[in-house]
């Protein structure tokens, strides 16, 4: 009898032991956690997102040991070609047949907004590491979305406040004539005017532009202390390059401030042309030991330093996986609820917390581009001038987002 009991107990515990992993895996839908990276793999935004974003996500997956709650983690990546319809189709397929639980990146905000809507219907998570449109956290906000880096307001406010503090009160905008440019200009102008500054004028250039000399000369002639560039990528680079040719923005009386510039842009411009410029970023690889450790891992795989949005993919993936671990399930609502209770503090994001409207509020960096002589190696581009507290640069929760009312 006793012998039977012992074998019985042994058998039971054995069964329990073997059952444990499958029990955990029961909490993971489809027995796999699948992360999708949807971005621009070949177009104008591929340098600061593209393949590098998938590499950054893989680093986070590797740091988790390739598994969460006993289930394997898989990665998939595709090119949305900056077109909302293509992004929406891919996302739908990924959700319906591809077992994808979370999609990140979206360097074009229109693609992000399209996929957010589908993710909400299918109860999956979106993390906009590169999509910066304010709509994602205002009127189009979703309980299953996180804007995991910055928005146009935070980018504009960081630079604008720093320059206003230096007494640079009169501004002129050179703006890309489409939604993104308008939004960036509007947000920055609001900050400028709220702080007693004045907007002297605006030139709106077609997107993408070629020769910006006319706009920059007009901006120079306005006599504004700050020529703010509300554009991105090659438009920003060409504006700065051509301004330098005419000696614009090289005096103490007038500076050029790009409101959105990635480290890849500075790399292309070269320090000689970009030197002394102020810009706001959420991540700089050479900030401290933790950021450097991540960046070196990335460098080993890509032979270049990560851009802020590539770093954001790493942080988003890592936090998402940790939230699954904490929540004990990959059900979208539970994961998001867990994420909102966590303090986000990793190699990339500092002092971060996720708001109910999906805005990740965290510290930002005010950077100034080094002079060529100060730079000791390739990618050694910035002096960190200030750490800007999240509360000071991120916008207040908007009434337009229904989630803020409840």
């Amino acid at each position: 009898m006793q012998k039977r009991l012992i074998t019985g107990a042994f058998g039971l515990s054995l069964a329990a032991l073997t059952a444990l992993p499958s029990l955990a895996a029961d909490k993971i839908s489809d027995d796999v956690v699948k992360i999708g990276i949807l971005n621009d793999l070949s177009g104008i935004y591929s340098d600061f997102t593209g393949k590098g974003s998938a590499v950054a996500a893989q680093i986070a997956i590797d740091e988790m040991g390739g598994k969460v709650l006993g289930a394997p983690i898989e990665l998939i990546a595709a090119d949305h070609q900056n077109k909302p319809d293509i992004a929406a189709n891919l996302a739908r397929e990924w959700f319906d047949q591809g077992k994808v639980d979370m999609i990140a990146d979206f360097p074009t905000s229109s693609t992000a907004l399209a996929v957010m809507e589908i993710a909400k219907q299918k109860n999956r998570v979106t993390m906009l590491s590169a999509g910066v449109a304010m709509a994602a956290i205002t009127d189009k906000c979703s309980p299953l979305n996180a804007q995991w880096m910055v928005n146009t307001y935070a980018l504009a406010a960081g630079t604008a406040k720093a320059l206003l503090k230096e007494g640079k009160k009169s501004w002129y905008f050179v703006t890309a004539d489409y939604t993104f440019g308008h939004s960036l200009e509007k947000d920055a102008a609001a900050v400028v005017e709220a702080d007693g500054g004045k907007v002297l004028g605006t030139s709106r250039h077609p997107f993408p532009g070629g020769d910006f000399s006319s706009f920059m000369l007009k901006a120079q002639a306005s006599g504004a202390q700050v020529i703010a560039l509300a554009n991105a990528g090659s438009d920003t680079i060409n504006s700065i390059k051509q301004a330098a040719e005419y000696g614009i923005g090289r005096t103490d009386k007038q500076v050029i401030a790009p409101l959105l510039a990635y480290i890849t842009d500075v790399k292309s411009l070269g320090l000689a042309k970009a030197q002394d410029m102020y810009l706001t970023e959420a991540f700089y690889w050479d900030y401290d030991d933790r950021s450097r450790a991540f960046a070196e891992k990335y460098f080993a795989k890509m032979n270049r330093m990560p851009s802020a949005s590539q770093a954001a993919v790493y942080s988003a993936t890592l936090s998402y996986l940790k939230a699954i671990e904490g929540a004990g399930t990959d059900e979208a609502g539970a994961v998001m609820a867990k994420l909102r209770t966590m303090t986000i503090d990793d190699a990339v994001i500092r002092n971060g917390h996720l708001r109910v409207d999906g805005a990740l509020v965290h510290d930002m960096l005010l950077l100034q581009v080094k002079k060529p002589a100060e730079s000791k190696r390739d990618w050694d581009f910035y002096n960190v001038k200030a750490v800007l507290k999240g509360e000071d640069v991120f916008p207040k929760p908007s009434d337009a987002c229904p989630l803020n009312k409840s």
Binding site: Y45, S46, R204, H205, P206, S214, S234, N238, E245, G247
Partner: protein, 300 residues
């Protein structure tokens, strides 16, 4: 809106500089269309390729070869690069375009468009999209004070060089015996062949010459514009409009239209910047309504 005379002059100058690029590029297109009846959609990609080759020669070649200090000078690049681009162009003509001369225009257009996409894709894969740049030669760095503005010496050089090239090309095609042969070749290739002239070789060389013009423009443009795989495609739309306005195949037409559209675009940038890329196409539409063959084109 008021604008000071100074600023007005500055904008005119900038417009003229932009116009020089239009003129140079559209002239190459006009020559190729005039003699080969091919609408050369690879023109933008060839312009971009020249900029990249110059950048490679000026900044990358030395380190690649293991001699960090070795570099091709800007002046050498201005000769070597268009030559290389022309040779590649002639290879494309020999291997691909030649097979399409009997067919409709459309086939040539599609083929050259495809080749352009392949070239763009290749450079994008190899060098990324943010772009590169190189400095103008030391001799041409820094600005001149021309009274109403500081004008970069390099831009003055670009204007002078492209006017010279445009005029030289026009002279070659319209005023020399060789030019007469070339024009005869378009009218009646068989007759010309009967006179003992090797028409296929002539066509290949002409295509090479047109491409070389894009090559020179590419080398000249790189210190001003960011060198990216997309730079040619962006410019090509406007250049095509210039060719249409000037009259397909008219060399003089593309030169004059290129320069004047540069000026018009420059002024639009001052008074209504949002319309600055559209204005060229508005003019194109108006011209097509009034003179379907273009301002300088021969009515058929």
């Amino acid at each position: 809106m008021t604008i000071s005379l100074q600023a007005f002059m500055a904008q005119l100058t900038i417009g003229l500089i932009g116009g020089c690029f239009y003129a140079m590029l559209s002239m190459g297109l006009a020559i190729i269309f005039g003699l080969l009846n091919i609408i050369n959609f690879t023109h933008g990609a060839q312009f971009m390729m020249a900029a990249f080759l110059a950048w490679i020669g000026l900044t990358q070649l030395g380190p690649w070869l293991g001699y960090p200090n070795f570099q091709i000078s800007f002046w050498a690049a201005l000769i070597i690069v268009p030559f290389c681009v022309a040779v590649i162009g002639m290879a494309i003509e020999r291997l691909l375009l030649r097979r399409l001369y009997q067919l409709d225009h459309l086939y040539g257009l599609l083929l050259t468009f495809g080749v352009a996409l392949v070239m763009e894709g290749g450079f994008r894969h190899a060098f990324g999209v943010s772009g590169q740049g190189y400095e103008p030669p030391e001799l041409l760095q820094g600005p001149f004070d021309v009274g109403f503005m500081l004008l970069p010496k390099y831009r003055i050089f670009v204007v002078a060089a492209s006017l010279l090239i445009c005029f030289g090309t026009w002279y070659l095609f319209e005023r020399t015996k060789l030019g007469a042969y070339l024009r005869a070749g378009t009218e009646n290739p068989r007759l010309l062949q009967a006179f003992g002239i090797n028409v296929p070789v002539m066509i290949t060389l002409t295509y090479g010459f047109g491409v070389a013009l894009a090559g020179i423009a590419g080398v000249l443009a790189a210190p001003i514009m960011q060198i990216t795989p997309l730079m040619g495609g962006n410019l090509l739309n406007i250049v095509f409009a210039v060719v249409v306005i000037g009259g397909l195949g008219s060399i003089l037409g593309s030169m004059i239209t290129g320069l004047s559209l540069g000026l018009i675009e420059g002024l639009t940038k001052v008074f209504y910047p949002e319309a600055s890329t559209v204005v060229v196409f508005v003019i194109m539409a108006l011209v097509l309504l009034v003179r379907p063959a273009g301002l300088f084109g021969r009515e058929v």
